[in-house]
Structures are given as structure tokens and as C-alpha cells.
């Protein structure tokens, strides 16, 4: 474990050093959340299961990005790049899903013609 002096060291050259305790804590949290993800499939929530799995995965992703990838102590511009790319991913998948949902009745109709 690191000494407090190292933990709060903000040298201009060295940058911020994350304490080992915090890294280990994030690691344990990720392992626990993996167990929760696997356990969640034994709970029947219908369609909510997918959303639950995605919410847990997003919490894990945030832990990795904020602590392991150091975003918490970086200049915010790096985080803007990440969030910006995710916004474009959401736009991309969102609009494609709206499009495919609009054609769903036609797909079902063709399936009944050619089972």
C-alpha cells in the first residue's frame, strides 16, 4: 500500500499516481459485478434482463474508464472525446433500430409467406 505522501503527490512531471488501494478496490468491484451479471440471468425479469445486464456492464465500463483509464484525474477533454464517440454510437444504433422497427411488419409478413 502506498504512503499518503505518494497518494497525494501531484508533481508537474510525474502526474497523478493512483493509490494501490483504490486500484484494488476497483478490481474487486469489477469482480463482484461480474458475479452479479452472471447471477442476474437466474432472475426472470423478461425483457428487463437485457437492460439490467447493460446497466451492470455500463457501471463496470465506467469504473474502468474513470479509474483504470485515469479519466477522473485527466483534463476533461479526454472524457469529452469518449462521451462524444458514445453519443455518435447511440445515434447510429438508435436510428438504425428505429428504421428496422419500421420494417418489422414487412419482415414478419414475408416470414409467413415463406416459412
Amino acid at each position: 500500500m502506498s504512503s499518503p505522501a505518494v497518494e497525494h503527490h501531484h508533481s508537474e512531471d510525474q502526474g497523478h499516481v493512483v493509490s494501490l488501494g483504490l486500484l484494488a478496490g476497483v478490481w474487486l468491484a469489477l469482480l463482484v459485478l461480474t458475479v452479479v451479471t452472471v447471477g442476474a440471468i437466474y432472475v426472470n425479469l423478461g425483457k428487463l434482463n437485457l437492460w439490467l445486464a447493460m446497466i451492470i456492464a455500463t457501471i463496470k465500463a465506467l469504473l474502468v474508464a474513470v479509474y483504470f483509464m485515469h479519466l477522473r484525474w485527466d483534463r476533461p477533454f479526454n472524457a469529452y472525446i469518449l462521451v462524444g464517440s458514445l453519443i455518435f454510437v447511440l445515434l447510429f444504433i438508435g436510428f438504425v433500430m428505429m428504421d428496422t422497427a419500421a420494417y418489422l411488419p414487412e419482415i414478419d409478413f414475408k416470414d409467413t409467406l415463406h416459412p
Binding site: V6, L23, A61, V64, T100
Partner: protein
Amino acid sequence: MNQHEAHGSEHPSFLAHHFATPRQQFEAGKLGMWLFLSTEILLFSGLFCAYAVYRANHPEIFVYAHHFLDSTLGAINTVVLICSSFTMAWAVRSAQLGQKKRLCVLLAFTILCGFGFMGIKFIEYRHKWHAGLLPGKHYNPQAHEGDHAPVSGHADEAEHQPTTTAARHPVESAAVEPEHQAATTPASTPASSTASEEHTLQVPPTIGPAGLAAPVTTTADVHAEESTDEKVKNVQIFFSIYFAMTGLHGLHVLAGMSVIGWVLWRSMRGEFGPLYYTPVDLAGLYWHLVDLIWIYLFPLLYLIH
């Protein structure tokens, strides 16, 4: 520490001439890495989009086909990647503190985790290859049935085998195309071990000399399969998506391992310390992104409800 000596001079050896300070160089490198990572996210988003469209339109394919994936191996691989991410983050810290030996050990352990991940992935891929669970037109779960269908293993049953299969046909065949049978049979391959074990255990005692009881057992089996698999076709779509997503991710794992190997080599030469650890940090960012993508792939592919 050669960095300390270098720091004393006006311009350290690791500092490119167009940067004023090591800090500025580090920030610029990190910004470039984040821009690259954002393009990586967009690259994978194409595959996630394909997944979302097919799952929305054909949820039954995903519910049916994910049973062929070993979620235990998937969970082990998740843990392996999370541990490697932890050691990678720790390695960055060690580099910042100038702990050369610890840095090298942690980087080596991270690469080892990468090998572990790829080894488990190889086991999974090999199983799918043997079971014919391949993408597109190569999807043919019957291709290697002889390898592991225990029913045909016994000599005395060999002659009854045609009877058994023939007995299936009247049950299903009324309006069933051949492709449908191709889609129904995977459930009886050992990929889903419980189904195949039932099959193995039940069939030998019930098949009489005349094969009289055989139809009863198989009908029950077929009904059990029918209830879940009746409408499931185009299962190969799932495996196309599975192999595309895990394959591209696997390539990224290999790339990450190579980069960390290069960083390890430079670490052993003592190139990194409190003043200069940019390559360790940037390789770490890449490795964490690979972990991040797997965090989503695991529940989406292996844990479908």
C-alpha cells in the same frame, strides 16, 4: 535513473524538440490515444449495431443459439481480462514511481493474462469448429455428428439408427423442409450436454429388438425440442455475429499483447521512470479499452435470457 540526469539538462532525451515540457508531450500523446480509442469504439459499434438489429428482429435465434456457448468459459475470460486490466493499471503506477522490477513483473503478468484469454478463446473456437457451429453457409451442425453422437456408437444399435431417424420424420415431416431438420438437430448434439445425455441414456434400453419402443422415446425428444426450436432457423446468423465480434476483439487482444510486449522490452532496458512513462500509460489505455468492449460482449453473447 537516467531521466533524473536528463531532467537536469535543458532538453531530456525522450522529449521531442517541438514540446516545451515532458508534461505537454505526455498530454498530447494521451489526447491522440483517446482520439484513436474513439475510432475503435466507432469501429466496434458497427458490429454492435448488427447485433442489435438481428436480435431485435429475430430474438428466438439468439435465445436458442447462445446455449451453444459455454458461459463458464466466458465468465472465466471476463475475470482474466479484469485481472489483466488491474495489473496494467498497477504497472502504470509502478512506472510513475520508478519501480522498474515491479513494472516488468506486472507487464509480464498482463501479457500472460492475454495468453490465457486467447487460449480459452481457442478452446471455444475449436469446439465450435468440430461441432459445425460456423458462420454463414459453413453452419452445418450435422457435419461431424458421427464424432460425438453416442447413439450410433453401439454396434447393436447401428441397424436401428435408421429406424430411429425415420421415426422422427412422421412426427415432424408434415410441412417440414429439410432445412428445418438441420435447424432442429443441433439440440441433440453434445453441445447441449443435458439433452444429449438424456438421449444416450434413454435410447439404448428402450429400443427393443424390433425397435418397437423407439418411436415413443424419440417422439418425446422431438416434442421437447419442438417446443423451443420449432421456429428457429437461420441460426448461422448468430454465429456470424459471434465470430465477427469475438474475432475482432481477439485481434485487438493480440495487438494489445504485442504492444505491451514492446513496452515490457523497453521497461527492461530501463527507459521508463517518473518523468517518462507515456508508452506504458498509452498501452494501458488500449488494453483497458479491449477489456471494456469484452465487458459488453460477455453478457450480450453468453448470457441471453
